[in-house]
Assembly symmetry: C2
Homo-oligomer: 127 residues x 2
DNA sequence: TTGCTGCCTAGATAGATGTCAAATTAGAGG
DNA sequence: CCTCTAATTTGACATCTATCTAGGCAGCAA
């Protein structure tokens, strides 16, 4: 279940900030690649919005018309990108999001002249 | 040079918010797919951080060991994702970022009960 | 007109990726 | 031990994508 995190030093300053180095760009691109699939986005959403803060794989498989191995594959990609963590408890495996990861991404898209620099934007909902 | 924006209604509420619909997920995934390449990330960074707010293709080609058509391809992908806009002025073509797009993405990664930087979020949910 | 330059398009190709079926591992309980 | 269920791994396959070369189009200047 343990899986090394390939993306450790990734990012921090916004895209509109100083020049992005080659290595940094490769790492960041890896994270976005993990997010570039509709199924993975919905999985992440389901995990992040679970009332208990975690979701069992058994609950994640149902909503999709995909086989178990495919869901497992997508979870592995998210795990490898450092976006979620998995934990086995008895027969079932539960996944949680890694909040620091999401927070960092948020700062990436901050533009100059925008309030909240260097941190997450406020919690205002646009919907 | 005009290119329809395939991703118009994309996103708004955070990933930790209400259930992500299938269509919404597909659109969002498209944007992240555009961001999932190191070259495109660096291109976006170069455009977003240009002092004048725009960058000429002629300036974007040099820093990479890639041919012109390849850079052109990547710019097209970013354009199709609605992240940048291109404009021809005389011989040269200039690209600018679409700020609304980046701002929206920022909100996506907001977590409930988050006030500031990087720390562990509390468990409170807003909504 | 002709030529030159900047940028894009078209077509081809090697490599990456999403999906499934089959096999494997881990735990719970006979 | 054996069996059942949950989840992952393996291997194969079709599709997608990043890159290149060759060619086309637009603008500028003789």
């Amino acid at each position: 279940m343990e899986l090394e995190d390939v993306t450790a030093p990734v990012c921090c300053s916004p895209l509109s900030g100083p020049t992005l180095g080659g290595d940094e760009a490769v790492e960041l691109a890896g994270v976005f690649k993990a997010l570039s699939d509709p199924v993975r986005l919905r999985l992440l959403n389901m995990i992040a919005s679970a009332p208990s803060g975690e979701a069992c794989v058994c609950d994640l498989t149902g909503p999709f018309e995909l086989t178990g191995p495919t869901i497992s594959h997508h979870l592995k990609v998210l795990r490898k990108a450092g976006l979620i963590n998995g934990e086995r408890r008895g027969t079932w495996v539960y996944y949680q999001v890694v909040p620091e990861r999401l927070t960092r991404l948020s700062g990436l898209f901050t533009l100059p002249g925008q309030a909240g620099r260097g941190g997450a934007p406020d919690a205002r909902r646009l919907r």
